[in-house]
Assembly symmetry: C2
Homo-oligomer: 358 residues x 2
């Protein structure tokens, strides 16, 4: 059986070589006679996996020493609460940029914790673009500025990150590792794994140590970043299998040549599809404004609902998976994360062209 043409928005395609390696050693990890998921999280063998994943992420993203790499559970959805619970202290304000539904959810959770301000938004234009930010609007009471680096539903992405004097917090769930980053620009980055990092069930947090140094013992222990920092993310049993798979994905990223290579490839993959859209004489309409186009999620509509339905039906029959757009936007979406091969993107481009020409 050949691999499906998987354009799922997340959980999403993983590198075939990662799956093959996981399959090969599933019953016998590293000569232990046990599966990696049967190892104690306090064992030497597991600690090598755990610390190996941290080191590799540090290397690939060039993470400075004054930042911690943490593994948590609960996805970005739990981070929506943990960020304000840890950072939005009395008298401070959390500044939010609304660039999509996930930003809105992050804001909703922050409002339960403290004072918030929406400093920029493209909501009124169905989130077609990344709104422009006026750094002067961020006042001295700011605890942080929160952004969503890539918006899966709308297919938009920040091309460069704002220069601000307050800690910049970014939800990078859907585009972490799609390109190199200057970590120093950020106070805290969080990402659910299920797009570019691995399977669902582990959340990566990269945080500047000085940002979370205050004692917050009143918080639930599991919602306090310090718990994870003090215990190397081993306060309780971590999701060991998910972290192992994350490590395999990071090894794959390294073997492909690192983030510069992936960024180039991602831009090429995205261009293949955007070119089909732009050269279709309006048959395919991109949802995102050109300057905000994502290289991870390509969103588009067809002339009418009927054509869309026909396209999706035929695409499915031709083995393309996950092309339905999110219900809030409609139309179609092709998610082309790191692990989606160029060849699959080319197949989709061909299919789009031939569908148009029918």
């Amino acid at each position: 059986m050949s691999r499906a043409f998987n354009f799922n928005a997340g959980p999403a395609a993983l590198p075939e070589s990662v799956l093959l390696k996981a399959q090969k050693e599933l019953l016998n990890f590293n000569g232990t006679g046990m599966s990696v998921m049967e190892l104690s999280h306090r064992s030497k063998e597991y600690e090598e996996v755990h610390n190996g994943a941290i080191s590799l992420l540090r290397k690939l993203l060039n993470i400075p020493d004054d930042y911690e790499v943490l593994f948590l559970q609960g996805g970005a959805s739990l981070q929506f609460s943990m960020v304000p619970l840890n950072l939005l202290t009395e008298g401070k304000t959390g500044y939010y940029v609304l660039s999509g539904s996930w930003s809105e959810k992050a804001l909703k959770e922050a409002k339960k914790v403290g004072k918030t301000v929406v400093v920029a938004s493209s909501k009124d234009d169905t989130y077609k673009y990344i709104p422009e930010l006026n750094a002067d609007d961020i006042k001295e009471d700011a605890a942080y500025l929160h952004i969503t680096s890539n918006n899966t539903i709308y297919g938009t992405q920040w091309k460069s990150f704002p220069d601000v004097d307050v800690p910049l917090i970014a939800d990078m769930s859907s585009d972490i590792l799609c390109r190199p980053l200057d970590i120093n620009k950020f106070g805290l980055i969080y990402a659910g794994a299920q797009k570019n990092l691995g399977p669902s069930g582990v959340t990566v947090v990269i945080v500047k140590k000085s940002l979370v140094s205050e004692s917050l013992d009143h918080l639930p222990t599991m919602l306090n970043y310090q718990t994870y920092i003090k215990n190397n993310s081993l306060y309780n049993t971590p999701p060991t299998l998910a972290i192992y798979l994350l490590k395999l994905v990071l090894e794959w990223v390294e073997s492909e040549g690192g983030l510069e290579v992936l960024e180039k490839r991602n831009n090429e993959k995205a261009k293949i599809l955007y070119d089909v859209i732009d050269e279709s004489n309006g048959f395919y309409q991109g949802h995102a404004r050109e300057d905000s186009r994502s290289n991870m999620n390509v969103t588009f509509t067809l002339p009418d609902q009927e054509k869309s339905a026909e396209f999706l039906k035929l695409a499915k029959e031709n083995g393309f998976v996950g092309l339905n757009g999110h219900r809030s936007v409609g139309g179609c979406r092709a998610s082309i994360y790191n692990a989606v091969p160029v060849e699959h993107v080319e197949k989709l481009a061909q299919f789009m062209k031939s569908f148009k020409n029918r």
Copy 2:
């Protein structure tokens, strides 16, 4: 390579047939051409896994219709906070039985939320037994009574559950599915998966619906049980791979004959080891008092530290994994969860006898 003699306390041994099935379909789940971890959590294929796991757990534990089965993340450690955040309302008191370190941690988190009372404890006697509970000590202000059904570190286990007029909350992380249960006795049961249920990374909650019907919108969305109830545990991306493996483990439990069969086998396995201890003329000393002995974790010490170290070293050389006792008790611990084969327990018993006779 043959399977290790895995006596890890958790993450722990899983059934070999489960691992073989997971291995076989790791790159192609159910003819999809995708790994189960590459499926969208909104797809028909994944929903069958998700709902199949819920149905099977309902069947095996005979869970009544007025209870919900939920999948969460964060382990028992997050439940320590979620239970009081959802149930310990203003003016109420959380009653706790202390039977080990995990009970203490649960109490610690509840104290951050509201009023608590320790209604019974065996702490002064290094948690050698399950303390006796006087139901009259639980007053009308009780929000609930919290117990830990099995104490991995000390090797003790509740043999029957208390009859009380308030919601009984049980942390069953280390012995759920070791025996049949009368779910009606409980208000809420929670369990991290990494002992009898599957890999780490998913937490099962079984809760009586009427107990969590009050609106609690001020809570972080991800800490509100209602979020999981309203969305069939699909509010955000669940840990799909861990839930899939949980389903395979549940299928294995069913194929073995269900919980009556497993209870009988677990008692037999435990008896093999306790007999070696009891017939060793004091060479091996059980930590747990006889009436509180666990059928999941057998804890014992040797005449002195030196002998213990020698035993553990030789055991390791003979392929036994995970026999070190927890640092707070010392000595040795054999965790014999559902998936540990009788033959491995017999091997260990033989080893213990021959070590004594050297």
